[in-house]
């Protein structure tokens, strides 16, 4: 349990600032309902969806607002593979290494991606563009071997198609960056 001290109000204020409004509102709603602490994983999902990863300050804020020990937040965040504790690149590539993909040559796709991007699993390219990860199964085994780029599943894929796909996403990201940056 969080120890209640004099500066509680202040801590709550700081915590609220660390999180976007909709997450603070969600936590407050949960606090009115039975078993609020059971929503910890849901809250962490929201934080990751918003920031792309779980930062230290955000995890601390979640602990204070949801009133669960910080150690538990860290424990949960590290137990589940889905949670990321480091910032990710603009483009997240998830290579499926599940059985169906494995027997259809997923390792070659993975190797090609590593070669092209110059990074390994769990790493982000220096320019902050790509993060490479692997997954247990994306549930689209019928299309194996597959990768997921941001939210898009691509498959079946041959290693030689990798450079083309990277090129396509770089272009897309650049176009978006140009659109959003003021001239």
């Amino acid at each position: 349990m969080t120890v209640l001290t004099d500066n509680r109000a202040q801590i709550i204020e700081i915590s609220k600032k660390a999180l976007p409004e909709h997450i603070v509102a969600f936590i407050e709603k949960c606090r009115q309902e039975p078993e609020p602490e059971s929503q910890l994983i849901a809250v962490l999902h929201m934080v990751q969806a918003h920031f792309g990863y779980l930062g230290k300050d955000q995890m601390k804020a979640v602990a204070h607002l949801l009133r669960v020990p910080k150690a538990k937040v860290t424990g949960v965040a590290t137990f589940y593979h889905f949670f990321r504790l480091e910032p990710r690149g603009k483009i997240l590539i998830n290579v499926c290494l599940g059985t169906a993909c494995y027997v259809k040559g997923a390792e070659k796709i993975a190797q090609r991606l590593k070669d092209e991007l110059g990074i390994g699993f769990g790493e982000t390219s220096k320019d902050g563009m790509f993060t490479l990860e692997n997954s247990r199964c994306l549930g689209t085994c019928g299309l194996a071997p597959v990768i997921m780029v941001n939210d898009e599943v691509i498959g079946p894929l041959a290693p030689d198609e990798v450079p083309m796909i990277l090129e396509r996403y770089i272009k897309k990201a650049k176009a978006e960056a140009e659109k959003s940056s003021p001239q």
């Binding site: 059971s38 085994c141 194996a144």
Partner: protein, 727 residues
Amino acid sequence: MPSSVQEFYQTLVARAEEAFAAREEGKKIVIQVGSATCEHAAGSREVLDEFRKHIISSGRKDIVLRQTGCTGRCSREPIVGVFIPGRMPVKYERVDRELVHDIFVQHVQGGAPITEHVLDAEQNKVSEYEFLFCDSSRCGWQGGLRIKDVFTEKLRAAGVDMERVKVSLASCFGACGKELAGTCSHVLVRPLKILYRVKSEADLDEIVQKQVLKGKIVEQLRVGDEPVSQEFFDVYGDVAFFNRQSRVALRNNGVVDPESFDEFIHYKGFKALATVLERGDPQWVIDEVTKARLRGRGGGGFPTGAKWTSATKNEEKIRYIICNADEGDPGAFMDRSMLESDPFNAIEGMIIGGFAVGAQRGFIYIRAEYPLAIRRIQHAMELCHKYGILGENIMNSGFAFDIEIRLGAGAFVCGEETALIRSIEGERGQPRIRPPYPSQSGLWGKPTVINNAETFANIAAIINYGGEWFNRLGTEKSGGTKVFALAGKVRHTGLVEVPLGTTLREIVYDIGGGVPKDKKLKAIQTGGPAGGCIPAKWADLAVDFDTLTQAGSIMGSGGMIVLDEDDCMVDIAKFYLSFSQDESCGKCTPCREGTTRILEILEKITGGDGTVEDLDRLERLAKLVNRSSLCGLGRAAPNPVLSTLKHFRAEYLAHVVDKRCPSKRCKALLHYEIDAEKCIGCTVCARNCPAECIAGARKTAHVIDAAKCVKCGRCFEVCRFDAVIRT
């Protein structure tokens, strides 16, 4: 007030039917496009847009566009259906933008199907009529020859143009009642949606004379009730991949629009729930489920009726029900597809389950990796609230029940029921010792029933068609069907639902179309990391919970991976072990340390350093981990090793004795050499070799420096003269 439930339901039906009728689909041309994760990956959204544009610019008001979920025909997506009133439904495969244009102009507007792009065009001709005969072992055709052949002969004798008519075999329609089983057979006439019950050759003559020649319905042979999968067969019955299936859990997949409440009602949705709430007797529901001999589809095969009964025996009245949609088996995607393509059905099953066991709250635990499934379930739940199907006083019955979604976060062990419960409570998902079982003490210490998503998907059908009926679909020991996610080295990958007792051969060959590229089938893997590999020579094994266990594998949740001669069994065992080792939650030593040690030995073997003694050590260790681990993950983790050791010992021996990998998969055991006779000195290999260890002048034979070679295989892949030898 019992009658008010029916009134409530009838109001829903009337409203839905009105909305459905207003679309006038019977008079219009319907273009149907699938929409689910795989379909999207294959480009179905672009296809949908393109059709929309075409319809708008054609200015025609008699063409409508429908969206459905996925039928589970992964390798041929996107699939587009064109339904012209009174004509046979036509489905196209691998549709892209250009094909959309042709389909629209030639078929939709011009009335002429583009035969070469029809789904499974190689075996599928477009005909006017199709007669689908039940070919299941339960069917009681007494007339000697196969009924299909008898009928075809009669058509010929009557001078029918065989181009117009197609005669095919289908899997069980589930239409033979108890008293009829073994005395008759059934035939579905497409596109008329008429089901005939035939007992004798005279009945067949009647159909030829009246139906085929005069176009009149033979009323006295007609079956009144629609079989469970009639709509499905009506749309997809012409394709072998589909008509060899029996769809119960998946009956609406690819038929219904997963985002439309009205369509679900139109296809008998919530009828079962209305029946249950009208009767108001939980015990009756449990009795039907028990009679159905429904066994849990999550892997263990525990009888669902017994599980539900044990929860009701508890004094505690606060109870929970959980739908397990964690689907962690890599290579399985049944639950995803069901939730994406028919979300209301899962919800209906859960509410009925909740009523039967006296639960007030339900939880759906879904993997976070399935965003579309989550969205569709969420959407379906909102509509259910809106129409009084969830919440207080469901369907006016006084029963109150609600469902919440909880997301997994990528931990395989959370599929295990006690771990899953911890995870819903917001904790690290570590299993605990059972007993007590969740049905005694589960979520927050209360009695909790936890069932797999497919288990729930069967419930409404059991209520609608009866427990007896469901029971008959399966084998003596287990009722119903099982959905498999067929993937790996098989021509048609996708979702396959067959009656329990169907053989592996029927699934892989008749439905899956066999192994591509003329390769030889080596094994069939079932049960994922907890299962094993069944050798090709056992392909005639009838699939059931017990038969698979006897064969050294397990049913599991339904992943089925076909392996061919290029797959190394030691490598596959290593693959699964590295999975289990990585996913072990670390709570108990046998699993945490044991899987690590097993994996080390397997790595030693595939690395070329294994000995014959290692095989014995492997077996001992595997049995130890199996006996002494705390939860199912550790207990089942050695299965892939034990089953491959049992069935493919020779392959292990080749690795440790001859230092050879017969399937040429284990890198460390391969050698690359260039055949000087065949090499023409084109230099391609040398230019592609990452280790720069291939030497030779242009137009002279090249040589590999084996000491430097990193065995990447590039040279073998790029040489167009078969000069690189891999041994």
